[in-house]
């Protein structure tokens, strides 16, 4: 193609592209068969699997799942950029404009290295460790080694719940390592026999099953496992939630019903979370 034809064809191409674009957006809004979900990186993998099955059963539906953190989920739903948000905690008092649809439960467990002789920690000991009043394992019956305290980054839901449970303030925590997501926390603890951290029970349990070098500590004498999270005895648990701004539209309601139904319980369990009965 010589340059002349190319230049003459270019406006045509633009027109075509614009036309297609227009087509696309009208069809999406007419049928409302496309749902956009954004939010928590803990909930996103679970929702993505649920969405896959939903699309299989409703061939006309398209569900687009994007990760990015609970706050993004809330912000996107409020700004109407996303249809449904994903949040790895329950909604708080400032978030009454949103509607919550819990889809699964998860707990937060204290983890240490498998070789650490410590079998359990009391709440006072956890508080002592995280505020640097206890900084050697020998002070609480372990080996003579300094404790490496692994903490979550500011703003994360897991940190928020941890602080609330132990009645701590973020500035009082004296950590040695600050991590982002659960996987990074597990890798950090697995690589350091003298460290202590806290992560999602589901993620930790799956690591232990696949031969990871960490162990979960009981909290207040309650074993940290999916069973205790399920029966409600584990003290530090949270619900994984889908949110909408105001009442959901029929298309949103259909997906929310599906995500809360028995049909996806096997997916929830596969992802090491606890289905809601």
């Amino acid at each position: 193609m010589n340059r002349g034809t190319f230049l003459r064809l270019m406006p045509l191409g633009f027109a075509l592209a614009l036309g297609l674009q227009a087509c696309n957006s009208t069809s999406a809004s007419n049928a409302s068969s496309k749902l956009v979900l954004t939010g928590s990186s803990t909930v996103a993998p679970l929702t993505a699997e649920i969405a896959k099955r939903y699309e299989q059963e409703n061939p006309s539906a398209r569900v687009d799942v994007q990760s990015g953190g609970s706050s993004r989920g809330i912000a996107d739903v409020r700004q109407k950029v996303a249809d449904i948000g994903m949040v790895s905690r329950s909604l708080n008092d400032q978030e009454t404009d949103l509607k919550a649809f819990p889809i699964a439960k998860d707990g937060i467990a204290i983890i240490v290295h498998k070789d650490n002789p410590i079998g359990q920690l009391t709440e006072e000991q956890v508080i002592g460790i995280y505020t640097d009043k206890i900084n050697n394992w020998s002070q609480i019956g372990g080996q003579d080694a300094p404790i490496t305290v692994v903490n979550k980054a500011e703003g994360r839901s897991t940190l928020e719940l941890f602080l609330k449970h132990f009645k701590l303030e973020s500035p009082n925590i004296k950590a040695d390592v600050v991590i982002g997501d659960n996987e990074q926390g597990i890798k950090t603890v697995a690589g350091n026999p003298n460290s202590v951290g806290y992560v999602s029970v589901g993620t930790a349990a799956s690591q232990v099953q696949t031969g990871g070098t960490i162990k979960l500590l009981p909290l207040n004498g309650v074993v940290a496992s999916l069973e205790t999270v399920e029966d409600g005895t584990f003290p530090l648990s949270r619900s994984l939630t889908l949110i909408t701004s105001g009442s959901p539209t029929p298309a949103q309601q259909k997906f929310l019903d599906f995500a809360q139904s028995q049909q996806v319980h096997d997916i929830v369990q596969e992802q090491y979370f606890v289905p809601l009965s």
């Binding site: 990186s41 990760s67 912000a75 703003g155 500035p171 600050v178 982002g180 690589g191 350091n192």
Partner: protein, 281 residues
């Protein structure tokens, strides 16, 4: 001088394209300013350097420890990588047999292509536990310096190598004619002649070290503090943004854009300094 028609067309196209590339930078800076302005208007610049600490959810926004952390990690990496890179380039150009030099250069190019997450992962599972045995906790300023040094080494090496290769051959012949040995020629003639390329190489490497996020995030420990020694964990400005972006709302989010802005200012200063260091021609 009049230009041919095709030349004029080319000139127009080039002008448009370079204006576009420039606009990208202006857009990025503009966006950073736009997002950071609300909080700067509300609490001002000074609080970012005078607050008691960095607890954005409790309204404390001190960035100083992270600025210090960023500078120390970068400086350490550059100090480690520059001599290694320059000496590798000299070896490649003047001492290695041709076949060895070619293979060696390819290897270094390969090193430049390894994704930073791979470096970070290796650092997390190998380097950090090693440092941890030497001096707990392990994730530290030292780990960050070492990882970054390996990452920027190829940049220093390759840029130096190509600027050494670009030295006119008669410099070399002239020096030989005066009876100077290889090393004397290298350090007396070639290195000064390649000075501008060398500075460019180090500057590019420094910029990469300043901006590197993922590997640093994985090995530095991310504690917001001014380190007392190389075994203390630190947090860099980039790691700060990466760690907290996903969960930040409102003021916290705006504060993260301020850290981005501070980083941008740092890189600008770096470019200006290297411009001043360039030999005037």
């Amino acid at each position: 001088m009049s230009l041919y028609r095709s030349d004029r067309n080319l000139l127009v196209i080039l002008r448009i394209l370079s204006a576009l590339s420039g606009a990208v930078l202006i857009l990025i800076v503009g966006f950073l300013l736009l997002e950071a302005l609300p909080i700067l208007n509300q609490i001002g610049w000074w609080r970012f350097f005078s607050d008691p600490g960095w607890y954005p959810t409790s309204q404390q926004f001190n960035l100083t420890p992270m600025v210090v952390g960023t500078l120390l990690v970068t400086l350490g990496a550059v100090v480690l990588a520059t001599p290694l890179g320059v000496l590798s380039a000299i070896f490649c150009q003047y001492y290695a047999p041709k076949a060895v030099a070619t293979v060696y250069r390819r290897l270094i190019e390969l090193l430049a292509g390894i994704p930073s997450v791979v470096y970070g992962f290796w650092g997390l599972v190998v380097l950090v536990p090693m440092i941890g045995r030497l001096h707990p906790p392990g994730p530290s300023l030292l780990a960050g310096m070492l990882i970054l040094a390996v990452m920027i080494l190829p940049t220093v090496m390759l840029v130096t190598d190509s600027s050494l290769a670009a030295i006119p051959p008669h410099y070399w012949k002239g020096s030989q004619a005066l009876g100077l040995g290889t090393w004397a020629t290298v350090q007396g003639v070639c290195l000064p002649a390649a000075r501008s390329g060398l500075i460019t190489g180090v500057m590019l490497a420094t910029a990469r070290a300043l901006g590197e996020t993922l590997a640093v995030l994985m090995v530095c420990g991310n504690i917001v503090q001014v380190p007392q020694q190389v075994f203390d964990p630190v947090r860099t400005l980039t790691a700060n943004i990466a760690l907290e972006m996903a969960y930040a709302l409102e003021q916290h989010r705006a504060a993260l854009f301020v850290s981005g802005l501070v980083l941008m200012i740092g890189v600008t200063v770096l470019v200006l300094v290297s411009e001043l260091l360039q030999p005037q021609s």
